[in-house]
C-alpha cells in the first residue's frame, strides 16, 4: 500500500502545481484569448493528475469509474465553454 500512497502524494501535488500554473497564467497574460488558453490547458491536465493520484485510494471499482467519469465530463464541459467564450470574445472584442 505504501507505493499507492506515495503515488497519490506525488501525482496530486503535481496536479496542484499545474493548477497553480494555470492561475498564474490567468493573472499574468495580457488578453483574454491567452488567458483562456492557459486556463484550459493547465486545469485539465491538473485535474487528470489529481484523478490519477486518487485512484489508488478508492475502495471500489464503481467509485473509480465515477472519478474518471468526473474527469471526462469536466473535459467535455471545459472544451465547449472555452469555445463559446473564445467565440464571444472574438466577435464582441472587449474584456
Amino acid at each position: 500500500m505504501l507505493v499507492g500512497n506515495i503515488a497519490t502524494v506525488v501525482l496530486v501535488s503535481l496536479g496542484a502545481v499545474f493548477f497553480l500554473a494555470g492561475t498564474v497564467g490567468l493573472l499574468r497574460f495580457p488578453d483574454s484569448m491567452t488567458r483562456l488558453h492557459a486556463l484550459t490547458k493547465a486545469d485539465n491536465l491538473g485535474l487528470g493528475l489529481v484523478v490519477l493520484g486518487l485512484l489508488p485510494q478508492v475502495d471500489s471499482v464503481l467509485a473509480a469509474l465515477k472519478l474518471v467519469a468526473v474527469w471526462v465530463l469536466t473535459q467535455l464541459a471545459g472544451a465547449t465553454v472555452t469555445q463559446l467564450v473564445a467565440r464571444a470574445v472574438w466577435r464582441g472584442g472587449g474584456s
Binding site: L73, L76, A77, A79, T80, Q83, L84, R87
Partner: protein, 311 residues
C-alpha cells in the same frame, strides 16, 4: 484538525469575498457570474457541513438554474443599467449600521449558544426502516414532513402560472422565449448531443439512490431540467407551446399523484400522507419518479419564461 479548519476558513473567506464582490460589482453581468461561482462554493460549504442532499440541491438549483435565469435577465437588461443613482450617503451608512446590527446579533447567538443542540436526528433514523429508506433527509421530505413538500410543489405550480400570467394576451398559449434559437454554434450542438443521454442516466441514478444516499426527486428533476435547457439553448429543439396538452399534463401529474397517494392514506390507520408498511418503498419511489418528471418540466419552463411568440 487545524488544517481542516484552515481549509474551512479559506473557503469561508472566498465565499464572503464573492458575496461582497456581488454587492460591489459595477455592472450586473459580472455580479451574476460572481453569484454562480458563489453558489458552487456554497455547495462545497454544504459538503463540509456534511449535508450531501443540500449540497446537490444548492449546486443544481441554487447556482445552476438560478444562475441561468439571472444571466439571461442581466443580458436582456444590459441597456437599462445606468439610470438610478444609489441612495444618499446617510442612507447607506444607516443601512450598513442596521445590517451590521443584524449580523452581530446572529453572530452573537451562534457563538453564545453552547451545550448540546436539541436534535431530531435519532427519532428520524429510528423510523426509517419502517419506510424502507436509508437516507434520512429523503425520509423527512417524503414522509415525516410530507405536507411541506406537497405545499412546496403547489408553490412551484403557482410560480409557473404566475410567470405565464405575465404574457401578453395575444401570445397566450404561445411559445416562451423572445425568438427561436438557431442551431449555429458547433461546439454547443456537440455538447447538446453528447451530454443529455449521460445526464438522463445520472438523473435516474440520483433519483434511485436518493432512497439510501444523498439524492432524490428534486435533485434528479433539476438535472433533467438542465439537460432539457441545454438542448433548447443549443437550438436543437424549440421550447414547447404552453397550451400543449402534454405540457399541462407533465406539469400537473407530479402534484396530482402526490395528492392522490396522500388521500389513499385516509384508508390507512395513520391517516393522510401515510404509506402502507408493506409497499412503502416502491410506492415512495413511484411517487418520487412522477414528481421528478414534473419538477424537470416545471423548472425548464420557469427558466424559459412567459410565452412571447405565437404557437
Amino acid at each position: 484538525m487545524s488544517l481542516a479548519l484552515l481549509a474551512d476558513a479559506a473557503l469561508v473567506l472566498l465565499v464572503l469575498g464573492l458575496a461582497f464582490w456581488i454587492n460591489a460589482a459595477s455592472r450586473a453581468f459580472p455580479a451574476v457570474v460572481g453569484y454562480v461561482a458563489f453558489g458552487l462554493l456554497l455547495a462545497l460549504a454544504w459538503l463540509r457541513l456534511s449535508a450531501g442532499d443540500v449540497a446537490m440541491t444548492e449546486a443544481a438549483v441554487g447556482s445552476g438554474v438560478t444562475g441561468a435565469v439571472l444571466i439571461a435577465a442581466s443580458v436582456r437588461l444590459r441597456s437599462a443599467e445606468t439610470e438610478a443613482p444609489p441612495p444618499a450617503l446617510p442612507l447607506r451608512l444607516l443601512a450598513l449600521l442596521l445590517s451590521g446590527l443584524v449580523t452581530a446579533a446572529l453572530a452573537g447567538l451562534v457563538l453564545w449558544t453552547t451545550g448540546p443542540a436539541p436534535s431530531l436526528a435519532d427519532q428520524a433514523v429510528q423510523h426509517l426502516p419502517g419506510l424502507g429508506m436509508g437516507n434520512a433527509v429523503t425520509g423527512v421530505l417524503i414522509a415525516y414532513r410530507a405536507l411541506d413538500t406537497l405545499l412546496e410543489k403547489v408553490v412551484l405550480l403557482l410560480a409557473l402560472m404566475g410567470i405565464w400570467s405575465l404574457a401578453k394576451d395575444r401570445y397566450w398559449g404561445g411559445i416562451p422565449g423572445p425568438s427561436r434559437i438557431q442551431p449555429t454554434n458547433g461546439a454547443l450542438i456537440l455538447l447538446a448531443r453528447l451530454l443529455p443521454p449521460i445526464g438522463i442516466v445520472v438523473a435516474v441514478y440520483i433519483l434511485w439512490v436518493g432512497a439510501t444516499d444523498p439524492g432524490g426527486a428534486f435533485q434528479g428533476g433539476a438535472i433533467l431540467a438542465a439537460m432539457w435547457l441545454l438542448v433548447m439553448l443549443a437550438g436543437l429543439r424549440d421550447a414547447p407551446a404552453i397550451s400543449r396538452p402534454w405540457v399541462r399534463l407533465c406539469v400537473t401529474v407530479g402534484p396530482a399523484a402526490f395528492i392522490a397517494v396522500g388521500l389513499t392514506g385516509f384508508a390507512l390507520p395513520n391517516g393522510f400522507l401515510s404509506y402502507p408498511d408493506s409497499i412503502a418503498k416502491p410506492l415512495i419511489i413511484a411517487v418520487e419518479s412522477v414528481l421528478t418528471l414534473s419538477i424537470a418540466v416545471i423548472l425548464g419552463l420557469l427558466v424559459a419564461g412567459p410565452p412571447e411568440r405565437q404557437p
